[in-house]
Symmetry: C2
Subunit: 88 residues, 2 copies
DNA sequence: AATAAATCCTCGCGTTTATGAGGATTTTGC
DNA sequence: GCAAAATCCTCATAAACGCGAGGATTTATT
């Protein structure tokens, strides 16, 4: 099930729902993922000032896959300088 | 074009490619988005310690849509306590 | 090759984070 | 409605951030 993230805080609801779907407490989830309970709570409440790396770690730990949608022409600029033969 | 993010640092390549596809310099992109050039560079280089809110702001500014993929059963736990009639 | 442009990196500074522990407050189960 | 559990919030501290400015290094242009 794919869900678009419209604002930074929206990721919190995803995290909470994912955790609850697995029937585990904040406390335990935080512990097994390797962050503090306080921090996980902050994420779930929609704090935007959390570190990306740690947030990603939580998403991974809860089985949430992150996907980005970019314009087609961006593809030509990925693989930085790996024989960029299609750049206009 | 949808691209899965496998590790926190991978978002950097997306940001850089998106910026280059628009042919704007770090300097200008950073300015118009409202962050420092230094910070945008950090993101593009894959720093994981940047704040989620600011990273999201940059993604938005560059037209990168963020999507998450969660297990189906998570849906029942979104809309926190809005008549959750389908929770097992 | 040489110059100019763009990106990267370091430094110091003020501010903010993440954590742990403790106690409120809310939610859940009986 | 009560008691227990879960979540939230506050506080203090060490650590790390984000910014600005300056100079290196890389990449582009002629």
């Amino acid at each position: 099930m794919r869900i678009p993230i419209d604002n930074a805080a929206a990721i919190g609801k995803i995290v909470r729902a994912s955790r609850k779907a697995q029937k585990i407490r904040q406390d335990d989830a935080a512990g097994s993922i390797g962050v503090s309970e306080n921090f996980l709570g902050k994420i779930e409440r929609g704090s935007e000032s959390v570190q990306w790396g740690k947030l990603f770690q939580v998403l991974e730990g809860l089985g949430v896959q992150v996907i980005v949608d970019v314009p087609e022409n961006v593809a030509a600029y990925l693989n930085e300088s790996a024989s960029n033969k299609d750049k206009p």
